[in-house]
Symmetry: C2
Subunit: 254 residues, 2 copies
């Protein structure tokens, strides 16, 4: 049983796309039981799976802040269980700031579910605030979706620093298990330079498989489908299959 947070405070690097697509391939092609959790007030993971955050009455907000049982907000779609986000979540950061046990509320609510799933995947917002910290407190490992660009590279030291703080105070087993390059264009010097530098930061943890830039990836969410269901043979779906195979072999099982 693995609990993985997809986290990077840099915006637009592929966190949501990676959580949704890996989850969908694990469920549809490796027969794993998968729970996806949308911790981003934008609700992009929910949207990507055709769950409209604007129409969703109850969400992960009610679980974290309201103490509702997760089963009461869970939706099933495309063979996946989903705890969706909605607009209420955008107030959660400020509300959590003043609450007791604010960092561990998500963990307390979801721990009882842990043995029902093979994978629980958390999509984090582009920030190091309390929603991301809640996700890191519950997760066992972090996969960092990464764009091979300079500004994304600059954020790594803050990312490592924050994970270190969570490990020290809230979750001793937490660590970065992998870095996956998304929207990767191997022809540019910039991409290759950044990739080399990231491999220095995370020796042995940068996935050999990369996700190439591919318009079908950007189209899939508008159809409410993960790319492996939208266009199963496209380059993006193939690339994510390779990443899933690498994830499984890194975990010592296929």
């Amino acid at each position: 049983m693995s609990i993985i947070a997809f986290m990077n405070q840099k915006g637009g690097v592929g966190k949501t796309t990676t959580a949704v697509t890996i989850g969908s391939i694990l469920a549809a092609e490796h027969r794993k039981k998968v729970l996806l959790v949308d911790l981003d007030p934008q609700g992009n993971l929910s949207d990507h799976l055709s769950i409209d955050p604007n129409e969703t009455e109850k969400s992960i907000y009610d679980v974290i802040i309201g103490g509702l049982a997760p089963e009461a907000v869970m939706q099933k779609v495309h063979g996946l269980d989903v705890l969706p986000a909605n607009i209420d979540l955008s107030g959660a950061e400020v509300e959590l700031a003043g609450m007791m046990m604010r960092e561990t509320r998500l963990k307390k609510a979801l721990d009882p579910l842990a043995d029902k799933y093979d994978y629980i995947l958390l999509d984090c917002p582009p920030s190091l605030g309390l929603l991301t910290i809640s996700g890191l407190t519950f997760a066992q490992q972090v996969i960092v979706p990464m764009q091979a660009e300079y500004l994304a590279l600059r954020g790594l030291s803050q990312l490592i620093h924050t994970i270190g703080l969570v490990r020290e105070h809230l979750n001793p087993e937490l660590d970065v298990s992998g870095v996956v390059f998304c929207m990767y264009d191997g022809r540019t010097n910039l991409s290759r330079d950044v990739r080399a530098e990231v491999e220095n930061h995370f020796p042995g943890r940068v996935y050999a498989s990369v996700i190439r830039k591919n318009i079908r990836m950007a189209e899939a969410p508008s159809h409410g489908l993960p790319v492996n269901l939208y266009d199963p043979q496209c380059a993006g779906a193939q690339d994510y299959r390779a990443v899933v195979n690498e994830l499984l072999s890194r975990e010592g099982m296929q």
Copy 2:
């Protein structure tokens, strides 16, 4: 005198690149006095201008939270005045949550500077939290950098909702003055569809000039330079010049 917030909670859409490049062109090519403010704990605006947030002792954090005068943290680089960010800013959201007058602290600190500049440009983080709200409370207008993709489109209703709340409670003159498409690839149906939909949301306010995808844009930050100084004749620099011209003509002056 214009105070413009570059804001979009969707990550990676071009907020930082747009604020830096417009600021640099206004200063270097239109002889305007420009102040840039980095409200993002990532410190990407600072980085883009070769101000290392990790080496910066005093930052906008000390102005908003510590009450320091903005002149005490100001740096001058490439003909621009900059109020940089540093790592302290990542604690600001939670600290601000419990403070008196939390939304207006930035405005109180920077209002006295207003008559010294032609343009004050604010780079907001990818969230609707208190740092973004602080920027919206101080700004007179909002320019929304936008990616022509489905997930970015989905965020517009939350963005409009948040600006409406700020206008109602904190800043009656605030409005979206423009939307600028960044990293635009006009050959795809997705781009054209999204652009048409955004024009419905913001009639008359979508800039005719778009910023095309261009690798030199992604290279410029690694050289600590705005693209108009890094590679003045590249497509990105030309596109941003067209946007600046449109900004000036929309403001009724050249």
